[in-house]
């Protein structure tokens, strides 16, 4: 992965993390979303849920503090916050299916204008499909936010009219964070809440198959690097 791509992905994770509210219970998907745990604004308490049976994930474990029985859903060794709790998978999915988790911030391959999510099976020949908890999370969390690069590596839109890959959940996504924009999903198509300072709405429409409207309070998307620089100044 190039440095530029790494930065784009951290920006997406960072931007979403700014919207995790105080006291929110948040489940993080594999990939970009897993990074969000590092970007919660200082002083804000957010409780991260890991579907293997943890509330209170703190972050990736440093090499000298690895507990081999403590991994997140991405199988990374982690540490937990003070106040954490362990439970079994059945309880963990009761929390999801029962709509107790406020936000699931997930990765994805494609999202339709209606909010249909395809995130689990790229139908590559010879590669066995693996769904994990994706479908339970998609229908269970109170809000499904997806963090993804706006386009595929070869430049095709991921926000498509109809998903072509197998569905994770129908009409479940409420918000999308990409490197180019923050877009709310609604009955009339997407509402662009924030746009990258370097691009125009016209460009955004070219790389998005949805109908897109500008939010009345459309603003330029805050940039992590700028904030980090500001914080250091």
């Amino acid at each position: 992965m190039s440095d530029a791509q790494q930065r784009r992905r951290q920006q997406i994770a960072w931007r979403a993390a700014q919207d995790f509210f105080e006291g929110a219970y948040v489940n993080l998907g594999v990939g970009i979303p897993t990074e969000a745990v590092r970007h919660v604004p200082a002083g804000r308490e957010v409780i991260f849920h890991s579907e293997n049976g943890i509330l209170g994930v703190a972050g990736i474990a440093p090499d000298n503090a690895i507990n081999r029985n403590l991994v997140n859903a991405s199988q990374q060794f982690i540490t937990v916050q003070i106040g954490a709790a362990y439970f079994d998978c059945c309880e963990s999915f009761a929390m999801l299916r029962g709509r107790h988790v406020d936000i699931a911030f997930l990765g994805g391959y494609e999202i339709s204008e209606a909010g249909d999510l395809a995130s689990w099976d790229r139908r590559k020949v010879g590669v066995p499909p693996a769904v994990g908890g994706a479908m339970d999370i998609a229908i269970g969390a109170r809000a499904i936010w997806v963090g993804m690069e706006h386009c595929t590596a070869d430049g095709r839109p991921r926000l498509v009219r109809e998903v072509s890959l197998p569905l994770t959940g129908a009409r479940v996504v409420s918000r999308v964070y990409t490197d180019l924009a923050v877009i709310d999903v609604g009955p009339q198509g997407g509402t662009v809440r924030e746009i990258h300072p370097g691009i125009t709405m016209r460009h955004l429409r070219e790389v998005t198959q949805w109908r897109l409207a500008e939010a009345t309070d459309l603003r330029s998307m805050p940039q992590r690097d700028a904030c980090a620089a500001g914080a250091q100044a």
Binding site: E22, G23, L55, I82, G83, A85, Y86, A94, G98
Partner: protein
């Protein structure tokens, strides 16, 4: 900073409206959130549906709600016990409706509400009067009843200790319906003996994770 503690039970319950459905923990006295139920008596909402294993004893807890005429319907497994004279009187006079549910089915219906399960099949109560009106289905050679989740507006839960995230531990048989009802209603309020610092409860021994608890009142 997350802090689920509220100082007064009446504040936690201030928006219980007439007609609310309320889960109340307890199997006999252990696990009964007396302070929260007293607050309901004080606040006076009426036409309540109370879901609890028993229907009160002496003039305490649910018995006092019944005596004050605040309860339209009881959903219980075992409304009759030594000292349940208030319920028995209300029942004999037709002042309170009773939905009798086998205890295991009652637990499972409440869990279904908590866990987002839309219905389940159980062999309990097949061929009995409590199967009346219920859909029967034979699965794997066994006749079963279709049961639905029991959704509620509030869950009142008695536990032993809590931290500010709402993590709970219980004491012995006080646990009973606590881990089942916590999270099964739109709002869950716990009543505990004492609060402990965050980190004061062993993550391996927390019984009800705070995600299921909205507010906590200490005695």
């Amino acid at each position: 900073m997350i802090n689920k503690f509220v100082s007064r039970a009446v504040d936690a319950l201030a928006d219980v409206v007439d007609g609310a459905v309320i889960l109340v923990t307890g199997f006999g006295d252990p696990g009964m959130p007396f302070r929260l139920v007293e607050a309901l008596v004080e606040l006076g909402p009426r036409n309540l549906t109370i879901v609890s294993n028993n229907a009160g004893r002496a003039l305490e807890g649910i018995a006092m709600l019944l005596r004050r005429g605040q309860v339209k319907k009881m959903i219980c497994a075992y409304p009759r016990r030594t000292g349940s004279f208030v319920f028995e009187e209300c029942y004999a006079r037709g002042e309170v409706e009773l939905e009798l549910v086998p205890q295991g089915t009652l637990c499972e219906r409440i869990r279904a509400a908590k866990a987002g399960i839309a219905g389940f099949y159980t062999p309990t109560a097949v061929d009995t009067v409590l199967a009346a009106g219920k859909e029967v289905r034979e699965i794997d050679g066994q006749r079963c009843l279709l049961e639905y989740p029991l959704h509620a507006d509030f869950a009142l839960v008695r536990a032993h200790l809590a931290d500010r995230w709402g993590n709970l531990v219980y004491q012995a048989a006080q646990r009973n319906f606590g881990p089942v009802m916590a999270g099964a209603a739109r709002r869950t309020i716990a009543e505990v003996d004492a609060m402990v610092e965050l980190g004061g409860l062993d993550p391996e021994a927390i019984v009800t994770p705070g995600i299921y608890v909205d507010q906590v009142v200490t005695l």
